[in-house]
Amino acid sequence: MAPRTLFEKIWDSHVVREASGEPTLLYIDLHLVHEVTSPQAFEGLRLSGRQVRRPELTIATMDHNTPTWPLDQPVTDVIAKEQLDALERNCRDFGIRLEDRFSQLQGIVHVIGPELGLSQPGMTIVCGDSHTSTHGAMGALAFGIGTSEVEHVLATQTLPQKKPKPMEARVDGHLPLGVTAKDIILGIIGQIGIGGGVGCVIEYTGSAITGLSMEGRMTVCNMSIEGGARAGMIAPDDTTFAYLEGRSHAPKGADWERALDEWRTLHTDAGATYERTVHLDASKLVPHVTWGTNPGMVVPVTGRVPDPANARSEDDRRSVEHALRYMDLQPLTAIQDIHLDRVFIGSCTNARIEDLRAAAGVVRGKHVHPSVRAMVVPGSHQVKVESEREGLDRVFTDAGFEWREAGCSMCLGMNPDILQPGERCASTSNRNFEGRQGKGGRTHLVSPPMAAAAAIAGHFVDIRDWNA
């Protein structure tokens, strides 16, 4: 057989049907469901009298709309409540497992999949959410879909797909202290642009990637969509297997051995070709901060906001001007002179235990700047429990951070956690679009240690100096 990429191996092993003039019919191993993009899909099933083909390959959770205030306080937003109730009803009617707001296993859908050991190498995983690319860190092919496709997967456990192209992002070298997985992916997006990966599945390779923990790999794969890619993935290795072993849905006994035999074949063969390769030298990476209104508008923390006069095209010039106006920034402002009102540590990008440990390490014994309101929202209930076991909650609350219940929260502001118009926020999330965290809010994307340090200082600081 001709040499194949990791992506091609997983694709090939999930082809149900291929015929000329038709899209490939791909089998889906795991379907993750949440309250926002599923109600119309379930309604579609009801209208056409269809069932869920494989409820045992489907799991639902509540994450986008859920308030992060204490669990004994009710959901007060009646429309959000209606959507949460609809999910409960749909899961009951169609026999789907639901981790609701009160479950010990509840959390952001992209945090709980790997946490439960449901996301495994070699699988195809979909969810009505663009950040499904996160699960590619396990060595899976995982991508976001729309609500019509959610209905399609519910009804058939398959998806007709046009084959994307494999692309490689190679990151070699040793990451300097204070530089994180978030900076790797922001660096890559800064290089390829937010449309640079359209039509592609990005495989992240190189020593800086294999050196990352599973949490770091999830951060990198999570933001593949911010580079426009269909999915991101990383070949599974001993780090992956060690993370999975013993998790509640990981294979056990003889199944574990059989699974390992399969998983060890999941790497790109020597001689396989990618459509395109981009390179990044990790040893030269610095902490990154976004200045504008999409994740490609990013510069090193040592840098300055751009001057539209230097834009490469008329479209770009107008785009930069528009972003600067929205962000209320002057051209050439030094990043470290940007002052903040809010800090958000959370989201499917950066709210896993390692992220919270890193942020806690920065704030221990210090206090949030008086002009800043800062909050930490764990990615899942299990992350919250583990953080509390390690005493991280006390580190944060002693420093003046709010410590909340798990959910998507202020990453997209569908729940009550939102920015007020004009507020400026350092956020560990994935999107700095206009109004993303609240109408008129201004978002700067950074890593957890960078967000933590900014909360203390009241403005962006170079975390590498902080460590010194």
């Binding site: 899209p23 309604e43 959507q83 058939t156 007709p160 107008r318 999107r431 679009f433």
Partner: protein, 207 residues
């Protein structure tokens, strides 16, 4: 799904690049469990001022674009969130198609699912259409899916690519799920040969 064959309509220019789905329909409109009513959220933060009154500077609020049914915009249209509410909002507002130099993958797929046509044309042609729609009152285009062409009353401006399978579905308004269900035996055969170690989501005590 309503078939898409040929459409002639008034063109509204949204002269921006990287219009993301958070702009097309902001999050507060995603809490609905209905499939209709999303038109009121279309471009909400651009269409309306903070006090809720229409922003007179926004293109869709200009009276001469009130009946527009073709939107033309810059590269990478529909990036970001996978929300299908974005094409729903555009469609329910009255648009039948959007023209841009390029589209985000999930957005494009979501459009196809609803008989709403994303048409990718060369950057130069898109610029020409934006300029004409901006400067010539009542500027209209005809999008012909069968012929895969975009033309105005003067001439054919460009041909566009569309996947043959997608084209067939759109022309006939076919339901994807219905097509896939015809392959039930092949799906069942695949399930027979799936590795036994793949996880199931049932509560672990039940396994």
């Amino acid at each position: 799904m309503e078939p898409f064959t040929q459409h002639n309509g008034l063109v509204a220019p949204l002269d921006r690049v990287d219009v993301d789905t958070d702009q097309i329909i902001p999050k507060q409109f995603l809490k609905s469990i209905a499939r209709t009513g999303f038109d009121k959220g279309l471009f909400y933060d651009w269409r309306f001022q903070p006090d809720g009154t229409p922003n007179p500077d926004f293109v869709l609020n200009k009276p001469h674009y009130a009946d527009a049914s073709i939107l033309v915009s810059g590269r990478n249209f529909g990036s970001g969130s996978s929300r299908e509410h974005a094409p729903w909002a555009l469609q329910q507002y009255g648009f039948r198609a959007v023209i841009a130099p390029s589209f985000a993958d999930i957005f494009r797929t979501n459009c196809y699912q609803n008989g709403f046509l994303p048409v990718a044309l060369p950057e130069k042609t898109v610029r020409q259409i934006i300029d004409r729609a901006t400067n010539e009152p009542g500027y209209r285009l005809t999008i012909d899916l069968e012929q895969q062409t975009v033309s105005d009353e003067r001439d054919t401006l460009a041909a566009f690519d569309v996947d043959p399978a997608v084209k067939h579905r759109l022309l006939h308004g076919l339901d994807d799920i219905g097509l896939t269900l015809q392959h039930g035996p092949e799906i069942a055969a695949f399930e027979e040969r799936r590795p036994a170690h793949r996880p199931r989501t049932l509560a672990t005590a039940d396994r």
